[in-house]
């Protein structure tokens, strides 16, 4: 598993999301320039895993990518910490939600 999520961005459309697995994992949303605007996870309470978590956010960004991962809690924190390390703050849309206290890497 790579430290950063480096998969290619996918078009964030209802058709794409409908084909997603129902598994647990993490995902990122990005603007047209590929700037990450949100990092989320699909956990044990997500009805259809990644699919339902991304469905909830359709229309909020043009691109997304995901990683199936049973360690979704720690992976989510890791991605947030990497983002804070690179940009000084959590992604814009995460700023509107409760974010756990994050550690620092580097």
């Amino acid at each position: 598993m790579k430290l950063h999520l480096e998969k290619p961005w996918l078009e964030f459309s209802a058709e794409r999301v409908a084909r997603l697995p129902g598994q647990m994992g993490v995902f990122q949303l990005a603007d047209d320039a590929g700037r990450v605007v949100y990092i989320g996870f699909a956990g044990g309470k997500s009805l259809f895993g990644l699919r339902s978590e991304l469905e909830k956010r359709l229309g909020s960004a043009p691109q997304f990518r995901y990683e199936v991962n049973n360690q979704y809690q720690t992976r989510w924190r890791e991605l947030l910490m990497l983002h804070v390390g690179a940009h000084g703050a959590v992604p814009e849309m995460n700023g509107h939600e409760a974010v756990p206290k994050l550690g620092r890497l580097g």
Binding site: M1, L3, G43, G44, K45, N70, Q71, Y72, Q73, T74, R75, R77, E78, M81, P100, K101, L102, G103, R104, L105, G106
Partner: protein, 388 residues
């Protein structure tokens, strides 16, 4: 040995049990199954409640403002506090408070002012840095991280792995080799500030414990003042070792708590689930699993409480603590495994806490010294040898 609880202990156990069942368990229904944090408002409310009960800061010595709870009662409480989904590693989500790092109580007054008291006030957080990539079971010999005297400072180079909380900590207790010609007599314990140049958290280490991660640390010419040597130079291993035996008792108790809850769930399910026209409890295969669970739980409990009694009497309890840790961690794993088997498909889901306990309790056979090292400790005591 009389393992009967006193009236006061019965009252305390009952109080903690009700607290867990009435306050903690209902909150977990809305949390992520792998969650490890309460909503801050709930956390603060429950901390206030625990303070009212007089149990806050359970592991803080009385001299430092902690409640006067002996280690036997503390062990009984730990068994109760673990009886919920996050209970094995985050008993009651930390609302009973913590003492921070027990080694700090051995610090000198200047160090206490800078590290211990701010920690007790919740202003600072520390980490414990012992294990290295070269090994964790034999830290005295495996420690490669070096500290070299340079004027009034020590310069530390090396790294640590499987360190919890270092990425969020303000400081840490770091063990480094200060005399390469000696084994455990060449280790010194340092108080290291996490914002010092040369201190790096290199990566997150993901484990079976998906709710929380460990970290890997690197020290590049990290300068530490001689005033930050904890204890004496080359006497650091004793500081680590003294606490390791003591910590094994509540560590064992946590495993028992989870096993007790898993058994309770298994019995309840076996009494209501029907197969082939009768309840599961009527099947001998299930009955034997339930009985084997009970034997595992009672054996673990007796050994763990007996170890606590010896510690409470200030007698040597190294063998007893090692035995309790070994038996409780292995037996706890078996109990959870059987409970999952009894629950069938549901036992594998995140609808129930069993799958989380199954993953987390596996770590317990390795954490705080693997089963094999516990056997080595007991063998040394029993055989009286100084073998390696």
């Amino acid at each position: 040995m009389d393992l009967e609880l006193s009236d006061e202990q019965k009252l305390i156990v009952d109080t903690v049990r009700k607290f867990v069942r009435n306050e903690i368990v209902p909150l977990e229904a809305d949390l992520d199954p792998d969650g490890s944090e309460l909503d801050p408002a709930d956390h603060d409310r429950l901390v206030a409640q625990v303070k009212q009960m007089g149990f806050y800061g359970l592991d803080i010595p009385v001299a430092y403002g902690g409640p006067d709870v002996d280690i036997v009662t503390r062990t009984l409480m730990a068994i109760e506090m673990a009886q919920h989904r996050a209970g094995l590693y985050t008993p009651c989500y930390g609302v009973f408070g913590g003492a921070g790092l027990a080694q700090l109580f051995e610090a000198n007054e200047d160090q206490k002012q800078r590290y211990l008291y701010p920690t007790l006030r919740g202003e600072k957080h520390g980490f414990f840095g012992l294990t290295e990539p070269s090994g964790g079971s034999d830290p005295a010999r495996a420690i490669k991280t070096s500290a070299v005297k340079d004027g009034d400072d020590w310069v530390i180079n090396g790294g640590k792995i499987f360190i919890s909380g270092a990425d969020k900590a303000d400081y840490g207790i770091v063990f480094a080799r200060t005399d390469s010609s000696k084994g455990r007599e060449g280790i010194t314990c340092f108080l290291v500030d996490a914002d010092a140049p040369g201190f790096h958290v290199r990566r997150v280490v993901h484990t079976l414990r998906s709710t929380s991660y460990a970290t890997e640390l690197q020290f590049d010419n990290l300068r530490v003042s001689a005033a930050n040597v904890l204890g004496e130079v080359n006497r650091g291993f004793g500081i680590a070792n003294d606490q390791l035996s003591r910590q094994r008792i509540p560590y064992a108790a946590g495993c028992i708590g989870v096993a007790v809850k898993a058994q309770e769930m298994a019995i309840s399910y076996a009494n209501q689930r029907e197969t082939f026209g009768d309840i599961l409890a009527s099947r001998q295969a299930i009955q034997w699993m339930i009985v084997d669970n009970e034997i595992d739980i009672r054996t673990s409990t007796w050994l763990t409480v007996a170890a606590a009694h010896k510690a409470n009497r200030n007698e040597s309890f190294r063998t007893e603590a090692a035995m309790a840790k070994l038996v409780a961690s292995e037996a706890g794993g078996r109990v959870v495994d059987r409970a999952m088997q009894i629950h069938g498909g549901y036992g594998m889901t995140k609808d129930l806490p069993l799958e989380r306990w199954y993953r987390e309790i596996r770590i317990r056979r390795v954490g705080e010294g693997p089963s094999e090292v516990q056997r080595l400790i007991m063998a040394r005591d029993l055989l009286g040898g100084s073998f390696h």
